[in-house]
Assembly symmetry: C2
Homo-oligomer: 207 residues x 2
């Protein structure tokens, strides 16, 4: 157990700085549009540090997916959905927490951005990104299933198909809003998705 102060040399700290700077740059220039030197300048380190921690640009990109993007998905979706009583309330809560600032709308979804750009070009990217999508959908699926058990979700819907539909629609709205550069598109999407989710609640027993 070593205490992490901030000596002039701190490997894990440097690695994190690189990852964060690279994520930012990739987020709004794409992976191919990102210049290593720009990333290095933003991270405040030099090329030697980068190639010490990573094998190259591709490896850095893969690490972004595994460390940064996976964590974002985990924090925003999986954690709040874990073992929750009413998944519909939880999902609506997450929807409402979705940022609709100009920067976020114009930037789109980091996960989907990278997936659309790199999936056809690099299997290393695709597999890692695909796994995150799978985990995401799995999380929603499990929550819906538990909700069915708890009587909070209609039993006549298929949890996996419904979860996939929800995720697809959510990502689709973010993509549309990004292209339109219009937050109203995203807010409309959130409203509509809420309506959709409400429709998943069990009908009131008219007995």
């Amino acid at each position: 157990m070593e205490a992490h102060s901030s000596p002039r040399r701190n490997a894990s700290h440097t690695r994190e700085r690189l990852l964060n700077a690279a994520f930012e740059e990739v987020y709004h220039s794409g992976f191919r549009g990102s210049d290593l030197n720009t990333i290095l300048a933003k991270a405040g380190v030099t090329k030697g540090a980068l190639y010490h921690h990573f094998d190259g640009k591709d490896a850095l990109g893969h690490a972004i997916v595994e460390n940064v993007i996976a964590k974002i998905t985990q924090d925003k979706w999986l954690a709040p959905l874990d073992d929750v009583d009413d998944p519909i309330d939880a999902l609506i809560g997450i929807l409402d927490s979705t940022g609709t600032s100009e920067a976020e709308v114009n930037g789109g979804c980091p996960l989907n951005n990278l997936a659309q750009e790199m999936s056809p070009l690099d299997e290393g990217f695709r597999l890692r990104l695909s796994e995150i999508f799978t985990n995401w959908i799995d999380g929603v699926t499990d929550a819906l299933r538990l909700g069915q058990v708890n009587g909070k979700v209609r039993r006549d819907i298929d949890p996996r198909e419904t979860a996939t539909f929800f995720v697809a629609s959510y990502e689709g709205y973010i993509s549309l809003a990004k292209t339109a550069q219009d937050a109203r598109v995203l807010r409309s999407g959130i409203r509509q998705l809420r309506v959709y989710l409400e429709g998943l609640r069990p009908p009131i027993k008219t007995a």
Copy 2:
């Protein structure tokens, strides 16, 4: 009125060859990933021809959007929806016509691919792509509205919000399927979207 035979020099023919070759290349390498020389080789012309017809790579990309992608959207969505009696039947028909071959699934949607890659980086791309999305949604919206008049669509739904939801979900599924490289994802999406569309029909008058 001039007859178009095929002399060794034919400007419009050359331009089309360039556009088609560029579209193919961009479709499966992305715009930035596309090499001009590769496009030229595929088109069977040289750089002189390209720079005679277009100002540069960007202009060629813009022309792809305006000519090729706009036409695809027009043919697949707008034409079949134009002035149709029952938009739900029409939309389901279009859904069923969606290709689910490996190449198409892995390639994704040309419109959305370019939009996600280039919208944040080039306003010329973004505006042109955004316009196509707008036209697409407008077409669905108008069809739904007419369907309401014809009594084929529930009157308690908002045509524009519904059309946007439909397009977003459709694109979202295509994106998911592309990343997963799994046609089943897309086919599941088509099924779910059909269910969604069926739900837009007016309830049966129980009188």
